[in-house]
């Protein structure tokens, strides 16, 4: 099992990172979502894996480590908030640049964003 | 008694599995979207139904008392599944996906 989970983490992180390196906002969003899946599972796995040993008092004699679960819960929520923000930001960028390129590089001719940095 | 229950549970479990599989086979095998649409309805009804009844029996037997809360799952499914089917059908008709030949009647323009 540990092996499988490790593989899962690996794949999630790999594809997440790869997508984060793409040039459009959409794949970046996808990538970050995958990445956060991977990270969450990673964080989760840090407590070690147990099957049907739910950390509820009295339900099992040697229950799984509850702390990573709590951390992951927090991470999921925060991750959700961030994803939501990013998605909306992507829309904003679309609205300002008329393209979903992460650098606002423009498809529509005649429009140029006055490049902020020097 | 126990063995009987066990038999029953196993039977329902298997029924569930079989019908779910059949449904998915339909989804995989049937020629056009509209016919595929019929696959999941089986999975929802008997597929899940089987599992539900099984667990219902099982837990009632375990706890020596009626355990009906699984019924809710079925209830919700019965409420929600048709909606998704309906919406999907509308989507398909909007895209007017091709129908297998020999289909009678016309889908509506959306």
């Amino acid at each position: 099992m540990e092996l499988l989970v490790a593989i899962i983490i690996g794949v999630l992180v790999t594809s997440g990172v790869y997508l984060c390196l793409r040039a459009r906002t959409f794949p970046v969003v996808m990538g970050l979502t995958l990445l956060s899946y991977g990270v969450n599972v990673f964080l989760f796995s840090m407590g070690g894996l147990k099957m049907d040993e739910v950390a509820v008092v009295g339900m099992s004699e040697n229950p799984t480590d509850p702390l990573p679960q709590a951390l992951v819960l927090t991470a999921i929520v925060i991750g959700f908030a961030m994803t939501a923000f990013l998605v909306v930001l992507a829309l904003r960028s679309q609205g300002e640049h008329y393209t979903d390129h992460v650098d606002g590089r423009d498809d529509v001719p005649g429009r140029q964003d006055e490049g902020g940095e020097a | 008694m126990d063995t009987l229950i066990e038999w029953l549970v196993s039977a329902f479990v298997m029924i569930g599995g079989v019908f779910a599989l059949v449904g998915s086979i339909g989804l995989a095998r049937l020629p056009d979207f509209y016919t595929r649409l019929h696959g999941p309805t089986k999975a929802t009804t008997l597929g899940v139904g089987g599992a539900i009844v099984a667990s219902l029996l099982f837990f009632s037997w375990q706890e020596r008392g009626l355990q009906l809360h699984e019924v809710l799952i079925t209830l919700f499914l019965f409420i929600t599944a048709p909606v998704s089917a309906h919406m999907l059908a509308k989507a398909a008709m909007h895209r007017d996906l091709k129908r297998m030949k020999g289909t009678r009647g016309e889908p509506w323009k959306q």
Binding site: M1, V5, I7, G10, L21, A23, M46, G47, K50 | M87
Partner: protein
């Protein structure tokens, strides 16, 4: 009386003129106000002067930053006194002069302020008894000179000149700082006294060469020594009083002053001789030579200043005490005659409106009085007998003669000196002849020129008078001052010398004759020389320098662009690459990992699920350009992850993940309406390969680490939670108890994040204009049926049911999987479903549309629950619970954690709806724009 006070006076004075200017436009009053403080300072110096003449050295000390050994120590010895007198005295005259020089419309107040600022800084330099402090004032002189040169900032020349001066001297200043710090490191103190006493220690230390170079860098840049001389001529863009004051009399002397000051500490080595005298000689010659060819009056004077500074430097470089005395003497003389010359030039400029010597001719007729003054001064500059310049020049020649440090080549020095003399005579001659005789003026802007106002000449007169006085009666005028100054410079033992006009008929005298004759000869031959000179294209240092700076700017911009290419992809790549490096370097150390550690048994289902998850992830990645498909496979991954959580006994996570899934899906669908559904491939295959590589390294690395940790054994703190969850937290679902109790603060922060995100999203969406697609991806118009009957009617009864479930999940949360967060998500999904089914308008007609308060109330409730525990003297977020027995109902638990969880619930509902509802409204705005 306190020296520090004297030094500070001008600084205080700097604030005075602007104030005065505020109240009166009277320029004389203004000038007096400005002159007041230096005058006072001068007066205050009277008593100390006597003490110094009596051979004392006055100290005054004031702590500033002991831990940096930086303290406000001042000393007044001969050298300091000499310079102080120069600074204050000439300063006074300049102020007086400026009163008439500046026209009515100019901001005289600011001018005087800068001038006084400079005066104070300069005083500080010459009197400070702490090297670090000296550096402080040193830099201040550069800064104030920047302001003064840039006083006419609207002229490009002034701006460029100011920048150049600032850059060059600033660089020198930094070098000097480094040098001084090194000295401090060697000597162990910055106190001038200590440093001067430990000269041998310094000269002996390994750092000496470096120290010397750094200090000399400071000196040469300040005193415009070759090769850093180029900034000075361009500083002439400043108003003439400034040129007279800073760029001839005082500031440029700060360099040579420093040489004098540190003479005991640094001088006396071959390195010193080579560097200093070489630079001096070159400067002397080049300055004198270049001066001859200037057409600008001030340009000529500027170059002559350079050459004279070179002369002084050369003298210091000779490593002989007599030479040092001569140097000090020449400092005095040069200050007097050069200042007066600049003032004269200013007058001429002022009266004729130009400084071009090709146009200014024969002014003798128009302003004979000024002419006389100017001629005397320039005669002094040329070193004509009976004038002060002559005396110091004689000493100079003498010194060059009896310095033998170059061995066989020693003759170079006197020859060079004479040559310099020749040129200086030549340009002096030109100054006199060209300007005052040599025919008629050529179309002057102001015609006819006439004598300036009376008082404008006073400063010149005073200075010229000094020149003559010193020149005729050196012994009674300057001898004393020179003596104390020289003594201070050499640190005691003064060599035997006597100032007199007639030393008998000796070699130096001959050299003087040669110089004079040669000079005259050269001047008579000037036409030919000019012709020659004009062949050589003259390079404008300003343009060169500016060009270099510009190039530097472009170059650094280019380098910056290299990294800062504004492409997110490369930024992320850098980040990932860094991580990859970390992983590679570290994980390389790990032993080869073996798979035969005991693990949980695998089973077919798990393997197949893994396979599906992997497939989903890969599909999401591969198909990311077919966006809808990509989203579909993403939610497969989501589903599988939640099942993974179920499988490994984390039902809470599963619930959360599932509900988050749904909301995320809604979010994406909302967004996709405005985003393109598919994009063409853009990345080059190289980049794709690179990214894959990076991604792989990270993925594999993380996976390996995860595997190691999972299979390893670590004792964690979690047992505590298991033990105290029921007794201390009042709940059996440990995960939930951790969330709302043990680590409630995290959750508090987490819901805050959610709230802020919602706020931020709202802000982002406000007045965002987006064009939504009018046709679907197949290019056909959208369906008409906006609110399908079945969806609408079914979704409504679902709402109460969902709420029921939410309540259920919420209430059990503390003891069994569930809790406020999931409940909140269920509720909001049910509500969003209403939006989807029946539309924004419909819902908002039945429900308040602004969810800000809900979010706020949620977080507030959580926060107040936490604060509540203060009432019982417990820290924030201390929870409490009690079991209550009611008839019929039976025993049930009430816990503050529940209240906290309610806060979570509200926040989640509020935030989610705030996000989704406002996102949903976008299209409405769009439609409105359509209608409008």
């Amino acid at each position: 009386m306190n020296l520090a006070f004297v030094v500070m006076l001008p600084f205080l004075g700097a604030f005075l003129p602007p104030l005065v200017e505020r109240f009166t436009g009277n320029r004389t009053l203004l000038a007096c106000g400005a002159a007041l403080l230096p005058a006072t300072a001068l007066a205050l110096l009277y008593a100390p002067t006597r003490q110094v003449f009596a051979g004392e050295t006055l100290h005054s000390t004031l702590n500033w930053i002991p831990s940096l050994d930086l303290s406000l120590d001042f000393r007044l010895d001969g050298l300091a006194l000499l310079f102080a007198l120069l600074v204050l005295g000439i300063g006074l005259l300049v102020i007086l002069y400026a009163r008439y020089y500046l026209s009515a419309k100019e901001k005289a107040g600011r001018f005087y302020a800068y001038l006084l600022l400079f005066m104070g800084a300069m005083l500080g330099v010459v009197t400070s008894d702490n090297l670090l402090l000296l550096v402080v004032f040193w830099e201040l002189t550069s800064l104030s000179s920047f302001l003064l040169i840039g006083f006419w900032g609207h002229q490009t020349g002034a701006r460029k000149g100011a920048r150049m001066a600032m850059t060059v001297t600033g660089m020198g200043g930094l070098a000097l700082l480094a040098g001084v710090l090194l000295i401090g490191g060697v000597v162990g103190s910055f106190s001038l006294q200590t440093v001067l006493e430990s000269g041998d220690l310094i000269r002996g230390s390994e750092w000496y060469p470096l120290i010397l170079c750094l200090v000399l860098l400071g000196v040469f840049t300040k005193s415009a020594q070759f090769p850093f001389h180029f900034w000075l001529p361009h500083a002439m863009a400043a108003p003439t009083p400034v040129s007279a004051y800073l760029h001839s009399a005082t500031m440029v002397k700060a360099g040579v002053f420093l040489m004098a000051r540190l003479y005991p500490a640094l001088a006396g080595t071959d390195l010193w001789f080579e560097l200093v005298s070489l630079a001096g000689m070159l400067t002397l010659l080049w300055g004198a030579f270049a001066a001859l060819f200037q057409h600008d009056l001030k340009g000529l004077l500027a170059y002559s200043t350079i050459s004279h500074l070179g002369l002084i430097t050369l003298l210091f470089g000779l490593n002989s005490e007599m030479a040092a005395v001569a140097a000090v003497f020449h400092i005095i003389n040069h200050a007097t005659f050069k200042a007066s010359l600049f003032m004269a030039a200013g007058i001429i400029d002022h009266e004729t409106g130009t400084r071009d010597m090709r146009r200014i001719n024969g002014l003798w007729k128009y302003m004979p009085y000024t002419a006389v003054l100017a001629m005397v001064a320039s005669a002094a500059m040329a070193g004509v007998p009976l004038l002060n310049g002559f005396l110091s020049k004689e000493m100079f020649f003498a010194e060059t003669l009896d310095s033998h440090q170059l061995g066989a080549l020693s003759w170079i020095l006197p020859v060079g000196a004479t040559l310099g003399g020749v040129f200086s005579v030549a340009y002096s001659a030109r100054f006199i002849h060209d300007v005052f005789f040599n025919g008629e003026p050529v179309n002057l802007p102001k015609y006819p020129p006439h004598e300036p106002p009376r008082y404008m000449k006073v400063p010149v007169e005073i200075l010229v008078a000094l020149c003559v006085a010193v020149g005729v009666f050196p012994a009674i005028t300057v001898a004393g001052l020179l003596a104390v100054a020289a003594t201070a410079t050499l640190g005691g033992n003064l060599p035997e010398y006597h100032l007199s006009i007639w030393h008998g008929f000796n070699l130096p005298l001959i050299m003087s004759f040669v110089a004079t004759a040669g000079g005259v000869l050269v001047y008579t031959q000037r036409r030919r020389l000019f012709a020659l000179r004009s062949r050589v294209p003259d390079i404008d240092a300003k343009l060169v320098f500016e060009g270099q700076v510009q190039r530097l700017g472009r170059w650094s911009a280019a380098i910056t662009q290299r990294f800062q290419n504004g492409s997110l992809q490369s930024y992320v790549a850098w980040l990932i690459a860094l991580v990859a490096v970390v992983l590679l370097t570290q994980l390389g150390k790990l032993p080869a990992l073996s798979l035969d550690v005991e693990m949980l048994p695998m089973d077919g289902v798990a393997i197949l699920c893994t396979a599906m998850l992997v497939a989903g992830a890969l599909l999401t990645t591969i198909l990311h350009r077919h966006r809808m498909t990509s989203i579909m496979s993403l939610s497969v991954v989501g589903l599988m992850v939640s099942l993974l959580f179920v499988r490994f006994s984390a039902p809470d996570l599963a619930l959360t993940q599932l509900s988050v899934e749904v909301v995320t899906m809604l979010l994406l669908m909302l967004a996709m309406y405005f985003l393109p559904v598919r994009t063409k491939a853009e990345s080059s295959s190289i980049r794709v390969l690179r990214d894959m590589l990076l991604a792989l390294v990270c993925g594999v690395g993380v996976a390996v680490m995860a595997f190691l940790v999972m299979t390893g054994e670590t004792s964690t703190i979690s047992q505590f939670f298991m033990d105290n969850s029921k007794s201390g937290g009042g709940g059996t679902n440990v995960v939930n108890v951790i969330l709302v109790d043990f680590r409630g603060f995290d959750t508090f922060g987490e819901i805050t994040v959610l709230g802020i995100a919602a706020m931020g999203i709202y802000a982002l969406l406000k007045d965002l204009e987006l064009r939504s697609a009018k046709y679907d991806s197949l290019g056909r118009p959208w369906a008409k049926d906006a609110h399908p009957l079945i969806l609408v009617t079914i979704s409504r009864p679902l709402l109460p049911l969902a709420l029921l479930i939410a309540v259920y999940i919420f209430l059990r949360g503390h003891n069994l999987p569930g809790g406020g967060f999931v409940a909140g998500l269920i509720t909001s999904v049910a509500l969003v479903l209403q939006y989807v089914a029946s539309g924004v308008a419909w819902v908002h007609s039945r429900m308040p549309g602004d969810y800000h308060p809900v979010v706020a109330l949620g977080v507030l409730l959580a926060g107040l629950t936490g604060i509540g525990s203060w009432a019982f003297g417990y820290p924030f977020l201390t929870s409490d619970f009690a079991y209550i027995y009611w008839p019929v109902v039976g025993k049930f638990e009430l816990a503050t954690a529940m209240l906290f969880d309610t806060g979570v619930f509200l926040t989640v509902v509020g935030a989610t709806l705030l996000m989704l509802a406002n996102l949903g409204k976008l299209s409405l705005l769009d439609d409105k724009r359509e209608d409008a």
